[in-house]
Structure formats: C-alpha cells, structure tokens
Symmetry: C2
Subunit: 315 residues, 2 copies
Amino acid sequence: MAAATFDVERLCAGDLRVAAALMRALDDELPGAREALAAIYPRGGRAFVAGVTGSPGVGKSTLVSALVTVVRARGERAAVVAVDPSSPFSGGALLGDRVRMQRHVLDEGVFIRSLATRGQQGGLSRSTAATVAVLDAAGFPVIFVETVGAGQAELDVADATDAVVVVTAPGLGDDVQALKVGLLEIADLLVVNKGDRDGADRAVADLTAMLALGARPVPPIFKTTATAVAGAGIEEVIDGLEALRRAPLADRAARRRRQAARQIAAIAAEQLRGRAHAALAAAASGDPLGRVINSVAERTLDPWSAAESLIAVLE
Amino acid sequence: MAAATFDVERLCAGDLRVAAALMRALDDELPGAREALAAIYPRGGRAFVAGVTGSPGVGKSTLVSALVTVVRARGERAAVVAVDPSSPFSGGALLGDRVRMQRHVLDEGVFIRSLATRGQQGGLSRSTAATVAVLDAAGFPVIFVETVGAGQAELDVADATDAVVVVTAPGLGDDVQALKVGLLEIADLLVVNKGDRDGADRAVADLTAMLALGARPVPPIFKTTATAVAGAGIEEVIDGLEALRRAPLADRAARRRRQAARQIAAIAAEQLRGRAHAALAAAASGDPLGRVINSVAERTLDPWSAAESLIAVLE
C-alpha cells in the first residue's frame, strides 16, 4: 500500500478534514499515519487536556456535554474524546442519549471523536494519546477525554491528561468505596453529579472525610446536576479546571516528565502485546508455537513457561 | 536469596498452608515460586472455575457469598479469588460488609484469596491465573473469581475461567447499555441481582430482548435477591452453573485451547510491560533512555518513536 500523505501544515492551521483523515488512518494503522503523527507532535502541547472518569451510570457524558457548553459560552473551542463504552458520545447508549449529544455536532467549535473499546486488547492508551495529539496540534485549546474509571484505564487517563476529574453520584452502592481504592489518588478535582438526588450532600461529606485521611491536599469537590445543556454547578467545575490550567508551568513540566515515561512504557507494552498476539494467532498446530499452545491447553506445560518461550521467539 | 522450596505433594494433597505460602511467594515473586507453580500446573485442571463480573454496586460479593453457601450446602468445598477493588472480600468495602463475609472464614471448606489491584499496572491476569492454578491443584472443586467488569478485566476473566456469570442490577443508569458492549459477549450466564427492586423484571426483559438480537444462543438469565447467607434464585444459578460444568469435555477442550493462546499472550505482554517500566524507572537524565524521556516531555520527540527506541533497548 502506498503511504498516504497528510498536509501537516494545514492540520496545524486547524483544518479538521485533515485531522479527521489522520485519526482514521491512525486507527487503521495505514502507512504514513505514524510519520505524520511524529511530525505534528512537536507542534502541540498548548491544549489543556482534562480527563473525566468514573463508573458507568454517574452521568459522565451528560457532564462532559454541559462542560463543553460552558467552554463554548466562554468563547473557546472544545474537543471530546470518548473512550467509555457506555458513553452516548461513543455510540454505546440509547438513541435518545445520542440524539441529545447531537446538539454539539451542529457547532463547528466542537469536535467529538469516539474510540471503540469493543473487544480491544490494549491499544486504548495508544489511540487516546494519538487522538489527543492530533486535536492538540489542530489547535483545540480544551480537550475532554471521557473514560470509564476502572482498572488500567483509570491509571492511563492520568498519564494522558493535564487534569483528572473524577465523577461519582449518590446511590451507586459500593461506589464511593470503589473510588477510594484507585480513582481518588489520581483526582485533581472531584464531582458528585446527580446532585439533586437524595444522598448527594452525604456523598460530598463522605468524600471530604475520606480525602482528609490521605497524605495529599484535598482536591476541590463540586456538586453538580448536569443536563446536556448546562445545569447547576457546571460553571464552578470549569472555574476549578481554569485554576488548574493556570498552574505554574514548572508544575506542569514535572507532571509531563512523569507522564512521558509512563506513556512511553504503555505504548511499548502495547506494541509488544500486539506482537505477542499476532505471533500466537499465526501459530499453526505443527509450529513450535502451536505445540506450545496445545501443551498449555492439555496442561503438560504451564502458561508462564510458555510465555517465556513466546518472548524468546519475539526477540 | 535462597530459593524457597514448596512441598508440591502436600499441596496437591490439599494442604492449604503450603498453598497459602506459595500464593504469597508468587505475589512477592520469590525465587522458587515460579518453579513450584510450573510443577503443580499439570496436576490441576479438575476444578470448575466460574468468573463473576459486573459493575460496582450490583452486589457481586454478596452474590458470590450466597453461591458459596449453596455449594457448601451441597457438600463441596469452594474457593473465592477476589480481584475487585470494591469487593468486601478484598477489603475494599465498609467494615460491616467485611464482617458479614467472615462467616465463611470460620468454614474450613471455604478459602478466600484477595488480589490487590491498587495501582497495579497489568499483572492482574497473571496473578489471577496463578492463584486459580494453586487452588485447583490443592483440590478445590469449585472456584469463584470475582472481578469488576470493565475494560481489560472483562476480557481476561473469560480467559481464566470455565464459565462467566455477568451480574447486573436494576437502577444503575446506563448500566445495561454498558453491559451491551463488552460483557454480554462473554456471558455464559446472566444474573439480575437486587431482584426485589423496582425494574428488576424490566431489566430481565431488556436483557432478553437485547440478547435475542445477537448472533449466538441466548444464555440463561436469572433473577436473584442475594443476601450473604443465601437468598432467592441462588439455587437456580448454581443449577445453571452445574449444567455448564457437565458440558461435553470436547467443548471445554476447544475453549481451553483458545484460552491457552490468550493467556500466554497476556502473560508475555505483562512480562514485557514490566521490563519496559523497569527500564524507564532505572533511566537517569544522562542515560540515552533518560534523554529520550526528556525529549518526549519537551515535545521534541513523539512517544511512539520513543517507544520504539525503548523496545530496541529491551531486545
């Protein structure tokens, strides 16, 4: 296949058709796409990237939609990268929700990009970072990354963003407890959404008490009642994000060096994971690797020893 | 450090002190542990391993506890591997929940093992598979693996188990929608827990309708109201699992070959990820790798090119 060429200059001047074409090409791993990404990466770094994460059902997408509305009202363009399988942005939700999201589609100052998570074995942090890099180079000053807050993704979102908004809602059972373990540690800002529900003030009090026990300063906590258009508390969340955006450059530089190391490791690990899967998928029963798989399936060999054989083959 | 030795014969005869010592040694990656695991792996394969997965708040832990009660009442021993950060089994929940779980601790026919997920970058599927392999070799006929159903974990649980129970509950917002994307595809059996709540019958009907649209046969759907002791519908879930357990060996063999390939790939990828992280963590500013990190942080180099440099160093 001939390598596609992408007009880097036009992209960096804000041409969204070039940006969209490059994002599609990156998804499909077309030749030339990686080279274009390498060329635009040094042109970015001006965007303020906010991750929005939390369990399914807390209303992350509606909150993001409301935040975008406020950013737009204040005169800036905004992009949304949805990597949450339950997000209406990424097509995972009911038709009604998706239609409600369409209000931003008619606004040329808003760009929405969904990343499929269906069945994906790794690769998500790589494509998230690539999508953010393209939108950043294309000149979006504010980028929201919406991701479901569980497992690896909760860590990856902190590596790919300048600030992490952790969202919860009252009445989700063990949810505040689940938050305690991983998400609270990466939260730069907390939101208790569905603030009109019973238990919202209690959830804010619980979070405050829980965070007070921790070693680091308590991040700001906001109560919101997001609707797709706006809602209570949304302006305050944007003000909180603006405060983080104005943080001393030295603080951001330290964060970016830590992030760089983790991002490189995550991308390298995903590349290696891809190679491992490809090698196994290509293995036939008669191959050495196919025999290794059969031995594990028949339990004559353990999978840890098998993994070492596989690594030796990859190298 | 001298390699610890583990009495494989005693472990395979059911000695839980040896099993527990080996699991701790595997967690700590002590010398000798991997060798013992390789030695016991061929001795396992008799356990029926059921994954129990779903979003936080659906009552997975209470369901697992009730399922264990029924398995015990039917005269079999049972083990629980909790990899869900919100699980009371793994210490993530309120004291009251944890105390409720203690009822099984007094029962010598029940073994509970928690795997920490806090801040873990990968490694979870490796330790889950290793823990299951030890409990299997130690003779537990039934093993439940409780995991939060989101992201990578939802795929890994299918690779490490003979059957996957996907749990949901009414009133969790987008939850049924979130399920649609990933979890429904791996469900061998579905449970709508908190069946005494409004909307439980509607949730069962929605799931049935959704699954009827899919390509594969609709898996059985159960409505439960689990309490830690037992509850409505629990016997029926165990009957459903018993039906799967009696599935023709040929079916299980095909599943195990697919699982073997994916498990080997996951373990290899995690090993490589560990090496990548270790290399970056050891990099000083003056090193070639330290300079690569700085270049990415300063955006003079993109992280994808940096990842390739890192892979070259690892090989």
